[in-house]
């Protein structure tokens, strides 16, 4: 099929059907704002400005998605952790819970009124007004375990997983309820898909057994809720995930978004017949410091590993740095445009848009 718009192309990939060519969704969040000369701080509480910049960026680069929101601290900020806004990203700088008993002070946020939740919802409404259903409108959110680490501190959370797992489950219940409330509002605002950012659950931090106990059941609730509303859940974990791909693919998300450290040909072999995979070009080595030629050919290599058979969306392994050169983003998008699907779901590159880099 030819002439798909971006939304149709991404949906085909997620359904493991035939897109016209490889869809591309670089994780361009704060980088997008630079297109109109903005930084994150000045847009955080101005959803119209934020939306205009995101749309301008996705239109300029011809990105198949338009990412709403900026970070994974929205939920924990609403629940009381202090967030400091640096030039291009807000960050938790003081954890709400000083003692375990502070769990009793936690309350599930109201997305209509609390913190930045209503601003992200408004941003989605603005984006939808501007581009309708032509590109995937996809907000980013924090996963329950990651939220818990932002409320109590990551090291303390790891220790309590050993000393007092029951208490950790109680905390994760509140975080999951926060996610469910927020996702409901994001869906009502018009999101086509929602990314659950759960970096705390990577193999470098949690064991596969801990993932099964502390992450999987709560994320499953969120992904199941989302799909019950017809909205696609995207399971994003940065860093190494190679020990948990099977689990990550079995909890209701329809897409795995993976970081540069994993080998996507292995991912494809293990789970590629049952779930769409997205990733995983190095956001620093290639996107920030590479050349258009090196980015293009790295993308081609990534496509060859994971695109045959469908179920693949080309992207960066994690959020692009705001200083990422625009030529490198164009080169990534071009690699997807050059990779067309044949009827047997094999890939043909219609041209070499960049010469191979000389090492």
């Amino acid at each position: 099929m030819s002439g798909m718009n971006s939304l149709e192309r991404v949906v085909a990939a997620i359904k493991l059907e035939k897109p016209d060519r490889v869809p591309v969704t670089p994780l361009s969040i704060s980088r997008s704002l630079r297109v109109l000369g903005y930084n994150t701080a000045e847009c955080l509480y101005d959803p119209e400005k934020m939306a205009k910049a995101k749309v301008a960026a996705s239109t300029k680069f011809d990105d198949d998605s338009c990412v709403a929101g900026t970070d994974l601290f929205v939920e924990s900020e609403c629940m009381g952790s202090k967030v400091t806004v640096y030039e291009h990203t807000p960050v938790v700088t003081d954890y709400f819970m000083k003692e375990k008993s502070d769990i009793n002070k936690l309350r599930v946020p109201d997305p209509k009124t609390d913190g930045r939740m209503p601003f992200v919802c408004k941003e989605i409404e603005w984006i939808k007004k501007m581009i309708g259903d032509t590109r995937v409108v996809v907000p980013v959110t924090g996963g329950p375990v990651t939220q818990a680490s932002q409320l109590f501190g990551p090291e303390q959370l790891l220790i309590e997983m050993v000393l007092d797992p029951e208490w950790v489950h109680k905390l994760l219940r509140v975080c999951t309820d926060a996610s469910l409330a927020y996702w409901d509002a994001l869906i009502k605002a018009g999101a086509h898909a929602i990314v659950l950012l759960e970096p705390f659950s990577c193999n470098t931090i949690l064991s596969p057994q801990q993932y099964a106990e502390f992450t999987a059941p709560y994320c499953k609730e969120i992904f199941d809720f989302s799909w019950s509303k017809g909205v696609v859940g995207v399971n994003h974990i940065c860093a190494d995930t190679s020990l948990i791909w099977d689990q990550m693919s079995s909890i209701g998300a329809l897409c795995l978004q993976l970081d540069h450290v994993v080998d996507l040909s292995e991912t494809k072999k293990q789970v590629g017949k049952r779930i769409c995979i997205s990733g995983n070009v190095h956001p620093i080595d290639y996107m920030l410091y590479g050349t258009p030629e090196s980015v293009y050919w790295k993308c081609r290599e990534t496509i060859e590993k994971a695109a045959p058979g469908s179920g693949f969306i080309l992207g960066s392994g994690c959020d692009l740095n705001p200083n990422t050169p625009e030529e490198n983003i164009f080169a990534m998008i071009q690699a997807g445009k050059d990779a067309t699907y044949n009827d047997d779901l094999s890939i043909t590159f219609v041209k070499d848009s960049f010469p191979k880099p000389v090492n």
Binding site: I159, T204, L206, N321
Partner: protein, 199 residues
């Protein structure tokens, strides 16, 4: 004309409560006492409350760098900031304190790849809590061990001789490859080690 030598980059890292900020401040004070100029790059929210005021007292330039995402935060911003600091004239040391949850191996690899500067890599561990930490955070600690030139067991003044021996055995059983020492950071480093780090 001979160009000035770049500042020495010293990374002090470890879990929350391991004493890395205390050790870093001690090193910076020693450097200042010897009329050497230092700067500090911090990627941490929490631990000892480090603010501009504290470091101004010690005559240090401080850059804080925080990222959005626990595993990726130390990427481009960290490298770009360190690159800018390497250009500060007449600087002798840059003390780098990555987040306690940093994937140190990946971070140092990226710094060396893109900035081509050597880094002294000192990992601190909270000695009394070592058995618990190894149980709770073996994944991230393994990556940190792999990146360390020196692993220092801190707060040994709060440990009995038996507990210290037990902790050292635990480290051996964990397959620590680098040098292992023990200190009490609040009392400063043993003289030889301090001189080695600041050499």
């Amino acid at each position: 004309m001979k160009t000035a030598a770049p500042p020495k980059v010293v990374a002090v890292y470890g879990f929350l409560g391991s004493g890395k900020t205390t050790l870093m401040l001690n090193l910076a004070r020693k450097a200042a006492a010897a009329n050497r100029k230092s700067a500090v790059l911090i990627n941490e929210a929490g631990d000892v409350p480090v603010d501009g005021k504290l470091f101004t007292v010690n005559g240090l330039a401080v850059r804080e760098i925080f990222g959005g995402c626990i595993c990726c935060s130390l990427g481009g911003d960290f490298i770009e900031t360190l690159k800018a600091m390497l250009g500060i004239p007449k600087l002798d040391y840059i003390f780098v304190e990555p987040s306690g949850m940093a994937d140190a191996r990946q971070l140092f690899h990226s710094i060396q790849k893109h900035l081509k500067v050597p880094i002294s890599r000192i990992m601190l561990l909270d000695g009394p809590r070592l058995p618990l930490l190894l149980k709770a955070a073996s994944g991230i600690l393994t990556r940190q061990f792999e990146a360390a030139e020196i692993v220092l067991l801190n707060k040994v003044d709060a440990m009995t001789r038996d507990r210290l021996a037990e902790a050292q055995e635990l480290l051996v059983s964990f397959g620590i490859r680098g040098r292992v020492g023990h200190i009490s950071a609040k009392n400063g480093l043993p003289k030889g080690l301090e001189e080695e780090i600041l050499a």
